[in-house]
């Protein structure tokens, strides 16, 4: 199906590069492969932690004109994102408090359906209420 409007992009910020990459791969596939889901995990030297440079790069890469949703894996990743945002005054970014895997999957599916940034963020937040069993 042709995309008539740009889709919301998604950036997953994790302390682990592999965790971010795996969650991004899963979310993108469940979303049907049309949504940009980028991983920003680990430090610049490949260790556990978060990198402002990696996050900034992913934010630029995920922006297609409809804004970017950012999901942190743990609370302290929020500090990296928040410290970075004042340096990107033109960025259309929403930082969302949601379960990392479930939130990423819900956001990717909602973005794939063409929803706006507010609706994609809401879908991620609603993942708090989704039971697996």
């Amino acid at each position: 199906m042709p995309q008539l409007a740009p889709q919301v992009g998604i950036v997953l910020v994790s302390h682990s590069a592999r965790l971010a990459e795996g969650a991004a791969e899963l979310a993108a596939q469940v979303g049907g492969g049309t949504v940009t889901v980028l991983a920003a995990g680990g430090t610049d030297d490949g260790g556990l932690g978060t990198s402002a440079e990696k996050v900034a790069c992913a934010l630029r890469g995920a922006e297609a004109g409809a804004g970017v949703l950012v999901l942190p894996d743990l609370g302290s990743a929020v500090l990296t994102v928040r410290a970075l945002l004042p340096d990107l005054p033109d960025a259309h970014v929403t930082l969302v408090d949601a379960p990392f895997v479930e939130g990423a999957v819900a956001a990717a599916v909602t973005a794939a359906a063409g929803a706006d940034l507010t609706a994609v963020a809401k879908a991620a937040e609603e993942a708090w209420h989704a039971r697996k069993l």
């Binding site: 899963l26 596939q29 469940v30 979303g31 049907g32 479930e102 999957v105 819900a106 990717a108 599916v109 909602t110 794939a112 359906a113 063409g114 929803a115 879908a123 609603e126 993942a127 989704a130 039971r131 697996k132």
Partner: protein, 89 residues
Amino acid sequence: MPASSESITLEGDLHARPAGALAVAAGRFAAVVSVTAGTRTVDAKSVLGVMGLGATSGQQVTVSADGPDAAEAVAALIAILGAATRVGG
């Protein structure tokens, strides 16, 4: 508003990717769309809800929609359930 409903027997388990395909398709319709398996009914636009149904091969699943494009939504989702659960994933 017109309402529409149709059932299908799954030919495979409703895993993550078919659930995603279903929710992406549902999200493109204006109608309110739900999926029922057994005693549970969830919003078809919620991929986590659809996955949480735990619907398995051989189970009957019902798609119901209410809204201006309800009939189109039900037809599209039944087609996805038929095709996607045959492929698996």
